[in-house]
Symmetry: C2
Subunit: 87 residues, 2 copies
């Protein structure tokens, strides 16, 4: 039977939060078309970092790291593209 | 002798990027005092997530997870406070 301990559950909730936190930011930009206060440097460095985590997860064959960082990369990179589009 | 393999080095660079990416955003807010385009929801959810990662690292006695998330929490929470201060 599949069981999950409390520590793993905590890790899953943490991963969920740090991944999906970028959704309200993306929605805000789609609504307002304003990105002036967002740091371009932040989204470049963050997207590069998440992409490196993705490669790391792939090399370690660690499915949770791959999956979480794949989704986070999509959100982070989308915000980066919108930052470049809506100056 | 202390040695580090290429995969671990990749993980370290990834962690460095996703941690310190928030620094240019914090600097930008300190300079401009503007946070209107930043999503409050993002920084609340992200700060909660990083704090849960910190507890997870503590419970797992995983020093790199504790350390990386402690630093990221300071940056993320600082931006959250500034978002609340500079509406």
């Amino acid at each position: 039977m599949f069981t999950i301990n409390i520590v793993s559950l905590l890790g899953l909730i943490a991963a969920f939060c740090t991944t999906f936190a970028f959704v309200p930011q993306a929605i805000r930009i789609i609504k307002t078309r304003h990105t002036k206060d967002l740091s371009l440097g932040m989204y470049i460095i963050f997207s590069v970092g998440v992409f490196l985590w993705l490669i790391y997860g792939f090399l370690q064959m660690d499915i949770p790291i791959m999956l979480a960082n794949f989704v986070t990369f999509i959100f982070s990179f989308t915000i980066l593209i919108m930052k470049l589009k809506y100056k």
